[in-house]
């Protein structure tokens, strides 16, 4: 069963456009199409010049985050029927520079991630087998390990829009992932890094990140725990 839809896409072709502009496509697609299915349909059968990122199409690789009808989603897991009226408005992630069409520059995003020492630091001797960690200790970091680095959260944050140097929710969540890992020895240094004008304190509990997160991670909760940890440490 097919349905007619109207799709507006923010296009930007660096070799000919001064700035982005809207282009409208009208097409018939199966009723159970996802946003990615629709982009593929346009790209494969109508307009090969459309550029976007995609890979796994099962919501785990994090390539296809974009803004659809006013909110950041993963195109691959979002059915068009999430939005009423068969009208779609698709834009690249806000807050990031546009490379082409729906493809944004993620370098700054990954760069910020690297600022928080996103790897386990171990000072203690390495055992022959595994480090022991209780199920409770594991469950503290489990949710934060689900992050797929799609950028939907950081891009949705008004603090980032206002200040491009803000670390953003994804990097803070990554810091959380290690700070609350019972095996890690780099906590103090990491806390010191995020205790910064462009770090923790730009989070104003706006919750856009949690609305955008395709993995439904309690990002704001994690950041709040980080704030308390920093304050506890300095008291």
């Amino acid at each position: 069963m097919k349905e007619s839809i109207i799709v507006k896409i923010l296009r930007y072709q660096p070799e000919k456009d001064q700035k982005p502009h809207w282009q409208t496509y009208r097409l018939d697609v199966p009723a159970d199409s996802t946003i990615l299915d629709i982009l593929n349909e346009i790209h494969w059968n109508h307009d090969g010049t459309l550029a976007y990122r995609r890979s796994c199409r099962s919501a785990i690789c994090g390539s296809c985050a974009m803004k659809v009808n006013g909110q950041n989603v993963l195109a691959c897991e979002t059915p068009m029927h999430k939005f009423r009226g068969n009208r779609l408005k698709i834009e690249p992630l806000p807050g990031f520079p546009i490379i082409k069409d729906l493809v944004v520059d993620m370098d700054g995003f990954f760069d910020k991630l690297q600022r928080v020492k996103p790897y386990m630091v171990v000072d203690k001797p390495i055992p022959d087998k595994e480090f022991l960690q209780s199920p409770e200790e594991f469950s503290r970091i489990r949710e934060s390990a689900y992050c797929i680095l799609c950028g939907a959260c950081t891009s949705s944050c008004p603090s980032l829009w206002a200040n491009e140097n803000y670390l953003g929710p994804a990097a803070l969540l990554k810091a959380y992932r290690f700070i609350f890992d019972s095996r890690d020895d780099g906590t103090d240094e990491r806390l010191d890094i995020i205790n910064d004008r462009n770090g923790l304190w730009r989070c104003h509990t706006i919750f856009n990140c949690m609305e955008a997160c395709p993995k439904h991670i309690d990002i704001t909760g994690c950041i709040s725990r980080l704030k308390n940890r920093v304050v506890d440490n300095s008291l």
Partner: protein, 126 residues
Amino acid sequence: MPEKNYRETSRRGGTLWLLQRVSAVVIFVLLMIHYVTYHFIGDGTITYDKITAKMASPWFNLTQILFLVTALFHGLNGIWMVTEDYIHQRAPRLLLASILIILGLLLLYGGTSTVLNAGYPGRVSQ
């Protein structure tokens, strides 16, 4: 690997964040008391005599000054937090911080002097 330094080291963030919340709680309590006593009990008119009568109590004055201090801090720090989001250069930030501090001191002086001077009926000419 691109090495851009995003850091603007300032360890005041946590202190200001915590004080903003502590002051909020203080203000919440004082303000509710203030509203009940001034606006909801009685006929709603506020006169010189009523106020100066209350100001005879040093305890009352203390709460008024506490309220003034916390509210000024909370409000001006609030402005500071908002502008920190949008103003990123050092110079305008310093300027703004100075303005906020001077404004705070002026208001603190004005408010405190009101409370202290108006609190003694003897000083008021009949």
